[in-house]
Amino acid sequence: MASDQAPRGVVLVVDDEPGVRALARRILEGGGYGVVEAGNGAEALTVMESAARVDFLIADLDMPVMRGEEMTRKIRALRPDLRVLYVTAHSELLFKERPELIDGEAFLDKPFTMRGLLEAVSLLKAGYIKEPPPAPVSTLRRWLKALTGARTR
């Protein structure tokens, strides 16, 4: 990302594995996004309270200290508009804890590809555009699934 350009959005990447955070940062910065990181849910809450701007949350579900689902629930209480991408190797775990994803939430299977992550974030962003011409959410979900393997509910 060129330093003189405003980021397309700022993403908070929460994962207890530093290598996964580093990978996501490289991919997202290459796609023009700003990135902030947290190693667990408690850190993420602190970042949310102190960061000047966060537009997207990328959340691992299976983390120590505070599980991803609990973290997201607390963060969403502060920022109901925040768009959330769950990145998980255990999508069945996500839907056990959250039978229904709400608008502005999606999930992406881990391991993710460079293209998959960028398209998932981009489409999550597009899915929130309220101005015309809005594509039906069901259409966005089909695109997301077809293009990236990411799934939304």
Binding site: E17, L23, A89, P111, F112, M114
Partner: protein
């Protein structure tokens, strides 16, 4: 041999990192780079290990 689910999860994460950085390297390397084939070897081995993980998971 079986592996506990938590260990499988950690291994999957590590392999995901290896695979992801291979992909980043490949996107940066020129098409005729002499390193491209090496990175593809790493990526292929990583994918193979990833594919074998479910068979090693303890039930």
């Amino acid at each position: 041999m079986t592996i506990e689910p938590a260990t499988v999860h950690r291994l999957k994460n590590q392999l995901a990192i290896i695979m992801g950085f291979c992909e980043l390297l490949l996107s940066d390397l020129s098409p005729d780079s002499k390193h491209r084939a090496d990175v593809i070897q790493i990526q292929t081995a990583g994918q193979s290990a990833l594919d074998q993980l479910p068979q090693l998971a303890a039930h």
